[in-house]
């Protein structure tokens, strides 16, 4: 219970810091005034622009934490991560198509759907390639993930070069690729919160299955589990979660890797606790990273994905070095 209170305090503190941080730092009192309906232009800026963004960043982080926890569980692989497994790259390609290719359907529909299709397709491709290569072990998965991500990245770059006309669409795609948070309206934030809650519930429903799978496929089958079907379902849920995060936050790497790890340090491997804790840790981490992105180099803004990559890349290398000894 104390751990969960600490986590809650961490998330709230990160959101609080995020609300104060910016090119112009404000006091918590000013944030409070803005929430209570202050009439000044500063209050309007905080309430209409900064707060929705900070909360959206936290929700994106929660989704990434959830996606990471599911992927690491289903692949029984501590280095699995949406960014490295190609699902984030696939989602970004889908989003690029939705943004740049004139389609018959509205973008509000095509964007999340294509992002999801890309995420799901890319993950299935990585799994397929790894299976064909013989095993779902760490090196095979990571290498096929790298290769698939490279192909997807190249396709995306080509689309950007070939289809953009130097107007707004290319800027939107670019900001996604580098992990730029969109700032939704309050209604959008509400929608994202609902999506996050649904994703949390869906991931939690997978928890006991992931625990059984963690004992090995033979053991899981002995427990009466249809492993193939479960893995397919878990990949579907994980991909949908990642697609939701990419739709709002773009390509934000390494959070999905780090959050479940940090959760397991204290909680051990049981997914019933790891999954919600990953969501909370992801939320706090992205809210903090976004605060850095918005305030470090005024008046410019660093793309969020660069901040998480610079902070998270070394973390991944550290895990890789440590786990390498076990292979």
């Amino acid at each position: 219970m104390r751990y969960w209170l600490t986590l809650l305090a961490f998330v709230l503190a990160a959101i609080g810091i995020g609300a104060c941080a910016g090119h112009t730092w404000v006091t918590p009192a000013a944030v409070l005034r803005a929430i209570l309906g202050g009439a000044s232009i500063e209050s309007a800026l905080l309430f209409e622009w900064r707060l929705p963004r900070v909360i959206a960043a936290a929700l994106v982080g929660a989704l990434l934490g959830l996606g990471g926890a599911v992927f690491q569980g289903v692949f029984r692989n501590p280095l699995a991560e949406p960014y490295l497994l190609g699902s984030a790259g696939g989602a970004a390609l889908g989003a690029t198509i939705a943004l740049l290719v004139p389609l018959a359907v509205s973008q509000a529909f095509s964007l999340p759907v294509l992002a999801f299709a890309g995420a799901w397709g890319a993950t299935l491709l990585v799994i397929g390639v790894s299976r064909a290569a013989g095993a779902l072990d760490v090196p095979t998965l990571l290498l096929s993930g790298v290769a698939v991500s490279a192909v997807l990245g190249a396709l995306r770059s080509f689309l950007m070069l070939a289809l953009s006309d130097e107007t707004v669409s290319l800027q939107v795609v670019l900001s996604w690729v580098l992990g730029g948070m969109q700032t939704p309206t309050w209604i959008g934030v509400g929608g994202l919160a609902i999506v996050t809650a649904v994703a949390l519930a869906a991931c939690l429903a997978l928890a006991s299955g992931l625990d059984k799978l963690g004992l090995g496929e033979t053991m899981a089958t002995a427990f009466g589990m249809d492993v193939g079907r479960f893995v397919a379902l878990a990949v579907l849920v994980g991909s949908a979660t990642v697609a939701a995060s990419v739709t709002v936050g773009g390509l934000v790497g390494f959070v999905g890797l780090a959050a479940p790890h940090i959760a397991r340090w204290r909680l051990g491997p049981l997914h019933r606790s790891v999954i919600p804790a990953s969501a909370a840790i992801g939320a706090g981490l992205v809210a903090l990273a976004d605060a850095i992105a918005r305030s470090a180099l005024p008046p410019a803004e660093i793309p969020l994905g660069l901040v998480t990559a610079v902070a998270g890349g070394p973390f991944f290398l550290f895990l890789l070095a440590r786990s390498r000894k076990k292979w």
């Binding site: 232009i41 622009w49 707004v168 800027q171 900001s175 005024p298 660093i302």
Partner: protein, 298 residues
Amino acid sequence: MALVKHIVAAALVAAAIPFGGASAEPVSIVDALGREVVVPAPPKRIVTVFSSNTELIAALGLADRIVGIDAMTRYPPEIVSKPHVGGRLGFSVDTVVAQRPDLVIVTPARQAANQLVEPMRRLGIPVIVLMSRTMTEVIANVRLLGKATSQSGTGESVARAMETRIDTVQKKNAGRTRPRVVMITGQLGNGLMLVARPNTYTGDAMRIAGADFALPTLRTLAQVSPEAILASAPDVVLFAGRQEDFDDLLTRPGWRDLRAVRAGRAWTVPRAEWLIPGPRTVDGIERLAERLRQPEGS
């Protein structure tokens, strides 16, 4: 008699209202993204993002109303000390709002429109998005900003002066053969070159100055290999940049043997005149037209 005086005075006042520079009537314009923008009163604090927009406002005589610029803007000299609201890495909503602007003017490049339009809309600060895809559009921007800043008269006369000068150039060029020209606007690290292409204001300005494209089939991709430029055997090579960079390029294999280089028809042109869409572009057109009319070897 007194009554007549009153009527005359009232008529004069009524007639003066539409022409008064400081009338508080809201002005409504449609910007390059097709958005309707309402400027409620003549703006007194204007944030101009990108050199071109700053120069357009300055050309209307409103440089003293500019309260924020982007970090790469260097002209006119009186604005260089204004606060920066963004630069290479993007633009800051916080810093723009801190200048308390009553009008923001941006162009969709380097994320500016993407980062600034929506927050300004939510905060109720009018924001105009301008594009410069053709010279016609560049001149239309002068009129549009004239209207938005309640300086329609100045906007009209600046725009008309630009049109007259362009007309003069075109009349002088009528009937002349157009030399085939390549204008290099940038070099990428991988050796590829950026060149001015059709369907851009820079390409438009080249055509007005009397040039033809040596690489006419370029569409959206502006990157070409040096070989393609050499193979196109242009009559004139233009380099938008510094003389020493151009000299450096000309020492590379193949360039010395280009007909244009051997004939002494390889010149630098000022980036400010060719890559910032504004009144100075017409200076560039006149200067280039003059040079293109000179016979080879002169």
